[in-house]
């Protein structure tokens, strides 16, 4: 495959990037309902449609539940679909999220991460996404505006792959990235077509066609149900390698790589590892560079995928490390650790006996600052040297 042409560089917000990303993939049915901090996507896509830039059916639904139902049904009929939401919008889709994955519909959705406890939480945090963990979706988290755009394109390649056929949620930190304008290279639409073209060479997936006696979403049929669930779980397992393969193909064609399931930053010779995700990962890299100057052998594992959980690659990256610190931007109610830390601890037998320190930070628009990350690295370093440590730290509560 040849290389893509250089795209146009524009300084636009994360939300605008989300809209461009969707438009470039030529969706056929789009439905969206406005919610802070995602509304700009719904507006821009409407404008694209109004201007004739995007040739899609655009359904201005009366709520997020309908947005998901419209796109999942259009997907069942065979359409390429897109929607975007945040926070309570995602919560309101809860039943339809499970239908989308249960029916194996390749929906691509952008979710601008936002807190969920009531209307007072109009602020950033990953709780919405974490609460949708067990809906059977693929959940990917990105760090910056360029990654939003590139990941949406890669998400279609993943979702519509014949071996996968699963909905994909592309998450980015609401407020931080949604309103942050950065320079973004927008690829030419023909190049995006070319990147997605391999999908056309695959066998055609099952669709609901008028006049053809077929049904979708039937009542549970005992063993039929179990078989469908088993296949769903096996498809999620296949997502792991597929994500890495698609990242490689994207890198070969567009020249940008994100590491697939996770990104490792200065981990090779590191003694201690910090695990973070989303926009905070950039700050962590900055602090790691400074700490390296001081001689601290620290690296970052940026978790790019939360579902399926990239267990094998995490074990590979963490095995033999002396201590690990996990920064969570959400809560795992009923467990003292943050959700990502809890999942990581399930891999303790494979990783080894190193201390794992859980940090809760960045809830409700609170910044995960350079100072906070410096403190995390110092404490994890101390734990690596055998000193006593606190298992769980709510950083904002101790300031």
């Amino acid at each position: 495959m040849a290389k893509a042409q250089k795209g146009q560089v524009r300084v636009i917000t994360g939300n605008a990037v989300g809209a461009y990303g969707a438009m470039l993939c030529r969706p056929e049915v789009v439905a969206a309902y406005p919610i802070t901090p995602q509304s700009e996507i719904a507006e821009l896509l409407s404008q694209f449609k109004a201007n004739g830039v995007m040739d899609a059916e655009y359904v201005e639904v009366e709520g997020e539940n309908s947005a998901m139902n419209v796109v999942l049904a259009a997907g069942v009929a065979g359409a390429r679909v897109f929607t975007a939401t945040s926070s309570y919008g995602l919560v309101f889709m809860y039943d339809a999220l499970q239908e989308a994955s249960g029916f194996r519909v390749p929906v691509v959705m952008v979710n601008a991460n936002r807190e969920t406890p009531g209307i007072h939480a109009v602020s950033s945090g990953q709780q919405d996404m974490i609460s949708a963990r067990d809906t059977g979706w693929v959940q990917i988290i990105v760090e910056n505006d360029q990654e939003i755009l590139d990941q949406i394109i890669m998400a279609y390649r993943l979702a519509e792959d014949y071996d996968i056929q699963l909905p994909v949620m592309v998450n980015y930190d609401g407020f931080y990235l949604s309103y942050l304008a950065e320079a973004v290279e927008i690829p030419n639409i023909e190049d995006v077509d070319a990147f997605l073209a391999p999908l056309k060479e695959q066998p055609k997936r099952q669709t609901l066609v008028p006049g053809v006696s077929k049904g979708c979403g039937t009542h549970g049929m005992e063993m039929g149900y179990v078989e469908a669930r088993y296949k769903h779980c096996m498809a999620l397992e296949r997502v792991k390698n597929k994500v890495d393969e698609i990242d490689k193909a994207f890198s070969d064609y567009f020249g940008r790589s994100y590491g697939g399931q996770l990104e490792e930053y200065r981990t090779e010779d590191a003694d201690i590892i910090i695990i973070a995700s989303g926009s905070a990962a950039g700050t962590v890299k900055t602090v790691i560079d400074a700490k390296r100057e001081e001689g601290v052998k620290v690296g970052l594992v940026k978790l790019r995928m939360f579902r399926p959980f990239p267990a094998e690659r995490i074990v590979k990256a963490l095995k033999g490390k002396k201590a690990i610190g996990v920064i969570d931007r959400s809560l795992c109610f009923g467990w003292k650790y943050g959700p990502m830390c809890m999942e990581l601890r399930a891999l303790s037998p494979e990783i080894g006996p190193s201390p794992i320190l859980s940090y809760i930070d960045g809830l409700a628009n609170l910044d995960i600052t350079i100072t906070h990350i410096g403190r995390v690295i110092d404490e994890v370093s101390a734990a690596a040297q055998g000193k006593s440590y606190q298992e769980v730290t709510w950083i904002p509560m101790e300031e």
């Binding site: 056929e28 309908s66 139902n69 419209v70 049904a73 259009a74 339809a96 008028p210 979403g217």
Partner: protein
């Protein structure tokens, strides 16, 4: 052997397809839903796609531990997503030039209660499909609980008769009128006692769904929940019409008119006496129900008269 000569009734003239359902489906004895489900595709044709929900229609429409009991394509939905799913399907079929008649086939619980928001949304957007609500005045599949289509005074398992309760204390939602207020391309009420009227309306629905939203409200008594003899359900439909309890009317392009005007409407007791869900009502309770029926009918009549 005597050769049978087929006598064509006027209803048969509206059929363009044979029966799409298997014989001996799993519905309760005497349930008009079976006749409705068999009847609708005969008029609408094979390019029909059912979008249904959990409910009385579910086991037959989508299968339950077995496959569906019919030959038509279907998309099964939870209660909250039916009109939105129909939107997604019909938008894509229309865009790609596939000839399809997407029909939402739900009970009154889905239409008037939990699935009302997306129904209202789809109607307002003028989506091009048919929404058919079979109204058995409650959640009959889960065991006769009240819905907002349950009439005043009716005894259900959640509006029971007791020392402090005489059945449901409020009137039902006037769903056909609510849907008319969305200004759909076509809205009609129908029931099985007036089959030709029903067939005409289905045919019109198929035509008008090319222009915009179509809502059909089909009165469908529940022999089990209402406690009707299983051989009496069509009679109950007929008396619902004759008492003006369920008037037959339609609105094409927002213009309401009666399709049947009952010359001498019978008192509501001619309807209530056929079932046991009103059997606890004394004279005052029945008078209240009569008043509610008269009030509702007068409102619809005033709209139809204004349009004459």
């Amino acid at each position: 052997m005597i050769e049978k000569t087929k006598k064509k009734s006027r209803v048969f003239d509206y059929f363009c397809e044979g029966d799409q359902f298997a014989g001996g489906v799993a519905w309760c004895a005497g349930c008009p839903l079976e006749l409705t489900a068999r009847f609708v595709p005969k008029v609408l044709g094979k390019n029909m796609i059912f979008v249904g929900t959990p409910g009385c229609a579910a086991p037959v429409l989508h299968g339950q531990n077995i496959g569906a009991w019919h030959r038509l394509p279907y998309l099964a939905s939870v209660m909250t997503g039916v009109p939105s799913k129909a939107t997604g399907l019909s938008r894509y079929y229309n865009r790609t030039g596939q000839d399809a008649t997407v029909v939402c086939f739900t009970g009154d619980g889905c239409a008037t209660d939990v699935g009302f928001q997306p129904l209202s949304g789809a109607a307002e957007r003028g989506e091009k499909f048919i929404y058919l609500a079979y109204d058995n005045e409650g959640y009959m599949n889960t065991g006769n609980q009240r819905s907002s289509a349950t009439p005043l005074g009716a005894a259900t398992t959640t509006t029971p008769v007791g020392k402090f309760s005489r059945g449901k204390s409020t009137v039902s939602k006037n769903m056909p009128l609510i849907m008319l207020m969305h200004r759909p391309a076509y809205m009609a009420t129908a029931t099985l006692s007036h089959l030709e009227d029903f067939a005409k309306k289905l045919q019109k629905a198929k035509e008008k769904k090319n222009e915009g939203f179509v809502y059909l409200h089909v009165f469908s008594p529940c022999p089990v929940g209402w406690r009707i003899n299983s051989n009496m359900s069509i009679e109950v439909c007929r008396n619902a019409v004759r008492t003006n309890y369920f008037p037959l009317w339609e609105a094409e392009d927002g213009k309401p008119r009666f399709t049947l005007e009952v010359a001498n409407p019978k008192p509501i007791t001619e309807f209530t006496k056929l079932m046991r869900k009103f059997s606890h009502l004394k004279e005052d309770g029945l008078a209240e129900l009569q008043k509610a029926v008269d009030e509702r009918f007068a409102l619809i009549k005033s709209l139809c008269d204004a349009n004459k």
